[in-house]
Amino acid sequence: MVPLSYYLVLSGFLFACGVTGFLIKRNIITIFMSIELMLNGVNLSFVAFAAQWHALSGQVFVFFVMVVAAAEAAVGLAIIIAVYRTRETLNVDRVNLLKL
């Protein structure tokens, strides 16, 4: 028997780590991984609430979140490759102009 709040605290901690990484990291790939960490934190609270309220649709929503995350990762990493090809850097501080 684990209190629901423990799951929510773990989920919130993962989300907070994701936000921190998004703020302090300067490598564009690591920033992207922080976003995945945030999505994982949200998924954990989805599953915890699904078990709490006996609603299986919570787990189906986790599935949808994963599909969207996979699509996002594919497109995002392609964008990172395109950015690296034109700028030759992965540091977001150096990608500060829309035009070359």
């Binding site: 028997m1 684990v2 209190p3 629901l4 709040s5 423990y6 799951y7 929510l8 605290v9 773990l10 919130g12 901690f13 993962l14 907070a16 780590c17 994701g18 936000v19 921190t20 990484g21 703020l23 302090i24 990291k25 300067r26 490598n27 790939i29 690591t30 991984m33 922080s34 995945e36 960490l37 994982n40 998924n43 599953v47 915890a48 699904a50 078990a51 709490q52 006996h54 299986l56 787990q59 189906v60 986790v62 599935f63 994963m66 599909v67 995350a69 996979a70 699509a71 996002e72 990762a73 594919a74 497109v75 990493l77 392609a78 964008i79 990172i80 490759i81 690296y84 992965l90 540091n91």
Partner: protein, 173 residues
């Protein structure tokens, strides 16, 4: 009791790997700690009885998505990240801000969410029931996500291909 012990052990592993992701300066180390986070989260899902979600977590997240990340890190030969002035400002504002926010959130969750608890395997999320839901109640969203994935595949190919590779080539006679 066993449930609580397993939850604590894998929760601590998960939290430690998440912190390690932030501390490491090389992206490949961050990627490997993210794999640990996802693997231990899969165990947490199993504890909650969500077998299907746990399997998909390992296959899609820890498998497919992380392979994509590691592949891009190696393709771009990403090294240690360099620190600039802006990043130091975000370090000093971001870490205290997030710490205060998460401590407040944890306090509110622990004190105000009551004494309800989740039993191990309270909700059997086996693939058959998930499929019932997915292909009846959520059929339209499911089809829409399939279109989304299709568009994402095409977008990724167009974005990642070299510009000259997309030009129509003249046919050789």
């Amino acid at each position: 009791m066993l449930h609580l012990i397993l939850f604590s052990v894998f929760g601590l592993i998960c939290a430690a790997a998440a912190v390690n992701l932030l501390v490491q300066s090389h992206p490949i180390n961050s990627a490997l700690s993210l794999v640990v986070v996802m693997g231990s989260l899969a165990v947490e899902y199993l504890l909650l009885g969500a077998e299907f979600v746990a399997a998909v977590q390992v296959i899609v997240y820890a498998g497919a998505i992380m392979v994509l990340f590691v592949f891009v890190i190696m393709l771009l030969n990403a090294g240690k990240e360099e620190r600039t002035k802006g990043s130091r400002v975000s370090l000093f504002i971001g870490i205290p801000g997030v710490t205060i926010g998460s401590v407040l959130m944890a306090w509110v969750l622990i004190t105000h969410s009551g004494t309800r608890s989740v039993e191990a395997g309270a909700l059997p999320g086996d693939p058959r029931q998930i499929a019932q839901l997915l292909f009846h109640q959520f059929l339209l969203p499911f089809e829409v996500t399939s279109i989304l994935v299709l568009i994402a595949i095409m977008g990724a190919v167009v974005l990642a291909a070299r510009p000259e590779a997309l030009q129509p080539t003249e046919e050789k006679n």
